[in-house]
Symmetry: C2
Subunit: 381 residues, 2 copies
């Protein structure tokens, strides 16, 4: 049992790191954060803060040596440093190997293919080949989905390519080119695992995207899908977390096609936007369950307490500067509205500045409240 | 609306201060804590920490001048300093006047009497009079309840006096001597108010005491009382918070006599032990509602989500030193067990080291879980 006297290091101090710190506070855990931004969201809520890049080998090794175990809130970290720390005897969850297999979207897709996980057909392009040449050579039809292999986040690094003009806008980096799938809906499942190989899954959430920003906009739980589909998705999530050999959380995003089949879209080995509603709407939050998984305690119940809708609070278009939240008072007058502001100082269009979870007795009521909040609460400057 | 850019000062950084900080984190509020202990529970979760005594006039004035508004997590503070700060234009909630009226249990009782609140008969003794003389002169019968006027906390400063021998153990301080009431049960109600004079109340909780330590041991919500009694108690709590003119929380403890009457026992103008279950079991936690009250936002729903039992986690008898928690893993294997460790470094017998809220579909199940946790989870060293 590792609950007490363990120094837990987290690579990254954004909103996910902050919410991990808040979950850790309930058990008085000692949390050390590494982040390049001294004003990062987690700064005020961790036990120790180290300013530095989690992408830099030496920085990560030095930081890792100052703690007893390590986890992440972002997968774009130097996994070689984590590998070295693991060899020195540090506990690292998720494993550096799984981070290597996940942070590159090309390698993610290859793993699905090799292990028989259903996923959309794709082609992988190295960084030195011209994208136009690659598309022509492989006779790829428009429209298709382009994804940068590395560094994508929050809608960046993903594009729907409909024309040759769209193609010309894209950077010439290593990427995958996926068949465009006619999607009925997108869902996500979060799985949690500990070292005893116990696994639990949260109920599926249904995701609704803002087409303009290609950002997750609203998300509802429970998802409006059949039990059969939900169970298929849960089984895939359980197989994936075991295939990657991950302790802690694995979030899995799925496509449901118009033909009724389920495809793995992508995974993230950490707390995930699609699990924020679990703070209020589940018996155990994803953040506490991540801690349970990496600390090898019994996993917490993933039972849903009540229907919920999650609204991402993003910076309004046309505003860039010191963040100001308007409409808080009106939003707070609605019962079942739970506002989370991440504490980022500056806003810019579509930047994730917070989220709101609305809860109600029915999913329809929760959705109505979310739409009200969406029209009331704005991040400007 | 005071939500953003306000520096909120809190006098006291114990567990109540810590849980206020965690509630404030959701809205990215700037919290400044004043506490004499640099290792206090709230230290890691506030925005700014000032080491110093909240009982010292000059220290409180200096601290208060560095923030925009002030609140408390303990009523044993220098209210004269708060009065001076209020005159300088600082927002102070609860008001210094109400703190003056509440922190002295004699003055509390006088207020009940003068304002027609039902309370047990009592006599007030000044500090310079000998207790024995006072008891004989006033012909007070054994058994009676002795309460020190000032400084009582967590079961200290209260005694049931059955014999002349018991009497001789007591310090010769200002005190009240209350008639012993034949109590059916004790309940508590938390009321919340904002500057717009909006008031909401939480459902009643029922308190069960450990006779040995005179400490609140278990507490259940909902309380096993009639709607009529609950409504009477709520009405009294609402009248009390308006009489004291308090913004933020007022916790009110009541006695229900065997004759079916309701008596005000005592009040506290701050978050209270009897409201810790609201973190998991209510739509809005008492901590967020205290912030809503003092920030003058709409108050949050006090609706109960599910039955709960609260267990105070106190230091085991026979252990004094660096705290160690045994049985966490077993306790965490039970669904609906929510553990809160306050992060106090040293334990001693009966010291409040944390609390556990158990939730279930029925109050009986929640109670059974609480009894299991009580036998599993221990604070030793």
């Amino acid at each position: 049992m590792r609950l007490k006297k363990m120094k837990i290091g987290i690579l990254g101090g954004g909103q996910l790191g902050k919410m991990l710190c808040l979950a850790a506070a309930d058990w008085d855990l000692e949390i050390h954060i590494l982040d390049p931004d001294p004003k990062c969201a987690a700064r005020n809520y961790c036990t120790h803060f180290t300013e530095g890049s989690f992408k830099d080998y030496g920085t990560v090794v030095d930081f890792g040596r100052s703690v007893d175990m390590l986890t992440i809130e972002i997968e774009h970290v130097d996994e070689d440093a984590l590998m070295a720390l693991k060899q020195e005897g540090k506990i690292v969850h998720p494993s550096p190997e799984s981070i290597f297999l996940i942070k590159d979207k090309g390698i993610q897709k290859i793993l699905y293919k090799e292990n028989g996980f259903p996923s959309s057909p794709f082609k992988y392009k190295e960084g030195d080949e011209r994208l136009e040449t690659f598309v022509m050579k492989n006779k790829i039809n428009f429209p298709f989905v382009w994804k940068a292999s590395r560094g994508g986040y929050d809608g960046k690094g993903v594009a729907l390519v409909k024309t040759i003009e769209d193609l010309k806008q894209l950077p010439n980096v290593a990427c995958i080119v996926e068949d465009f799938v006619d999607i009925e809906k997108e869902i996500a499942i979060i799985a949690v695992r500990n070292e005893k190989d116990e696994v639990v899954t949260y109920p599926a959430v249904e995701m609704l995207f803002d087409q303009k920003a290609n950002l997750l906009d609203l998300q509802s739980c429970p998802a409006d899908i059949s039990h059969e589909i939900e169970n298929q998705a849960k089984d895939l999530a359980i197989k994936l977390i075991r295939t990657y050999n991950i302790c802690g959380l694995l979030a899995v995003e799925f496509f449901l096609t118009k033909q009724g089949t389920i495809l793995v879209n992508e995974v993230a080995p950490r707390p995930h936007n699609s699990g924020h509603h679990t703070i209020e709407a589940s018996e155990t939050s994803q953040f506490q369950n991540h801690l349970r998984g990496i600390l090898n305690t019994p996993l917490g119940s993933t039972k849903t307490r009540m229907p919920s809708v999650l609204l991402n609070l993003v910076g309004e278009e046309g505003y860039e500067g010191n963040a100001l939240y308007v409409g808080m008072e009106n939003a707070l007058s609605i019962e079942g509205v739970h506002i989370h502001l991440y504490g980022k100082n500056t806003t810019k269009p579509w930047r994730k500045m917070g989220h709101v979870t609305t809860t109600a007795d029915t999913i329809e009521d929760a959705m109505e409240k979310a739409m009200q909040v969406k029209s009331l609460l704005k991040v400007v400057c």
